[in-house]
Amino acid sequence: MIDAKTVLHVARLARLRLSPDEQQVMREELSGILEHIDVIRAIDLDGVPPTTHVLAVENVLRADEPRPGLPRDEALREAAHVVDDAFGVPRMD
């Protein structure tokens, strides 16, 4: 079982605020996932490359041809704040 500190660290990285109850749920669920990894680790996997993709597809590439994107008004339509034709965000300096 992973500890509460680890849960909070992961939550912080993911910008999640967890209530004490949620922390407990996450501890159990994350521990379950890690235990499953331990099951896989117990198998002898020497020489077996990790499965990074489940599709047997490679090289899906696109020609370098420009395509029209969104008009600016539309691009900015869902922005919470628009400042000078740009997305306004909290002060970041």
Partner: protein, 482 residues
């Protein structure tokens, strides 16, 4: 330096000058109005899928091949997770454990002619972040920052070196010649000012003789190699002082302020696992066809460092000539074309010197001027044959720049041909001796000082077209005559 040696590695981000972004068809742009080149993919709208730009893969392979990297038979993309407003997906698509280009090596030439060999750790593909501007600058009361997504998703290749560099000036030498190489490959504009090439340096120090690595700091994003070199020197000095006085260097990102020469910490570096890299499920592996990679390898242009060696070794140019003439791919191609048809050393002198000087006056570059390489070579040839004198050749060059004529035709039309016909020159000298009997007498008596007088007069009489060497010889022949 006080028993410590610096250990430096660099990371270079290069924006590829493709037509479109890394994972969507939005056009690349620089300086266009904000947010005019965006789409649901590069704005990270839900449910969209990225598709890899084939040209970006091709250019990454070219870079890898030019740096002697092992090309991965199969490489994959990873998500690098972090939160920042310039990254709408909250992850950057990058490469992690299987980059498209693995270990390589780049050899640069130091000013003293010695080799500077730098190990390349990797070169991988990723996407650039958007441009974040702090509204109202740093003035108090500025409410927030603004994001322009035009740059977001631009294809980037990140090149990482081994910690093989031992001085700021070596770092500068490496970066300048790497930049030239990328320019010759035609993969990027490599403009430091516009940010299409950005370099960070990892700097640490260790006692001389030690093989362990000290704690490193990362010197961020300098917009010129000169400032980067100065920043590295300042950081080496700072670390040396800390360690010499018994302190410990902290692992952090630092900023060098060129104005004041000061180093200030930026933010404590997040540990690598905090990025929670994992394979990008939306992108399938890139498996370059070995035949394609071979074609690219064989199609590589001659790169500036080997070209410099060839200029010095085979063409007999000075190291400085070679450096100047490989200053840009255009100039190198121009010079090589001239040198293919004329004596390389003379061609180097003229291209570097008079041609560039005269073109500077009219604001043109050699390769876009009327002085085609064949014309330049023809003029160098006319000089070598003695058909024109140096002053006349300069005049011909000016005429070719202005009107685009063939040098031989300009010489003919303007009567600029050098007179080396000895009979004609003898007549000129005889006339001069008749007109200046006192000096003629002194010449016959062997008075050396009047030789210059007659040579000067002969040049004047012929409007500078006489071959000065022939005149000199013929005047001397009069000594002891009657």
């Amino acid at each position: 330096m006080s028993g410590f040696e610096p250990v430096i590695g660099v990371e270079i981000h290069v924006q590829l000058s493709t037509r479109t972004k890394m994972f969507c068809g939005c056009a690349l742009s620089f300086g266009d109005p904000p947010n005019t080149h965006t789409c649901p993919v590069c704005l990270a709208h839900p449910g969209v899928l990225p598709v890899v730009n084939a040209e970006a893969v091709r250019r990454a392979l070219l870079i890898g091949l030019a740096l002697g990297c092992e090309i991965a038979p199969r490489s994959i993309f990873h998500r690098k997770n972090y939160f920042y407003p310039d990254l709408p997906k909250a992850y950057q698509v990058s490469q992690f454990d299987i980059p498209i280009c693995g270990r390589g090596e780049f050899t640069a030439i130091r000013d003293d002619g010695t080799d500077l060999v730098v190990g390349i750790t990797r070169a991988h593909l990723e996407e650039d972040a958007a441009k974040l501007t702090h509204a109202g600058g740093r003035r108090a009361g500025a409410e927030g920052s603004v994001v322009d997504f035009n740059r977001g998703g631009t294809p980037l290749v990140e090149i990482v070196t081994e910690p093989d560099l031992r001085s700021a000036s070596d770092a500068g030498t490496f970066l300048r010649q790497l930049r030239q190489t990328l320019l010759f490959l035609g993969v990027s504009d490599c403009s430091m000012e516009e940010g299409s090439m950005r370099a960070d340096a990892n700097v640490s120090i260790r006692p001389v003789g030690s093989h362990a690595l000290g704690t490193k700091t990362e010197l961020k994003n300098m917009n010129s190699f000169r400032f980067l070199e100065r920043g590295i020197d300042a950081e080496i000095a700072r670390q040396t002082q800390i360690v010499a006085s018994g302190g410990r260097v902290r692992q952090e990102t630092v900023h060098y302020e060129p104005e004041t020469g000061e180093i200030t910490p930026l933010r404590s570096k997040e540990e690598s696992h905090a990025y929670r890299y994992f394979p990008e499920p939306d992108l399938v592996p890139v498996v370059p066809d070995p035949a394609w990679v071979d074609d690219l390898r064989h199609g590589l242009p001659e790169l500036p460092v080997p070209m410099r060696r060839r200029m010095v070794g085979e063409m007999g140019l000075s190291a400085e000539d070679a450096e100047v003439l490989t200053g840009s791919p255009e100039l190198a191609a121009y010079f090589m074309a001239v040198a293919g048809e004329a004596d390389p050393k003379a061609a180097a002198n003229w291209v570097r010197g008079e041609l560039r000087a005269q073109l500077r006056e009219v604001g043109e570059e050699p390769w876009e001027s009327r002085v085609t390489p064949s014309r330049m070579a023809a003029l160098v040839g006319l000089l070598a044959e003695g058909t024109v004198s140096v002053p006349a050749a300069k005049e011909v060059l000016a005429e070719v720049i202005a009107t685009g004529g063939e040098p031989a035709a300009v010489v003919e039309a303007r009567g600029l041909g050098q007179i080396s016909d000895e009979d004609a020159l003898r007549d000129v000298i005889a006339d001069l001796m008749d007109a200046n009997p006192d000096q003629a007498g002194q010449l016959r008596d062997g008075k050396e000082k009047v030789i210059g007088f007659f040579v000067g007069q002969a040049m004047k009489q012929t409007g500078g077209r006489a071959d000065p060497k022939a005149v000199q010889r013929l005047v001397r022949a009069q000594i002891g005559g009657d």
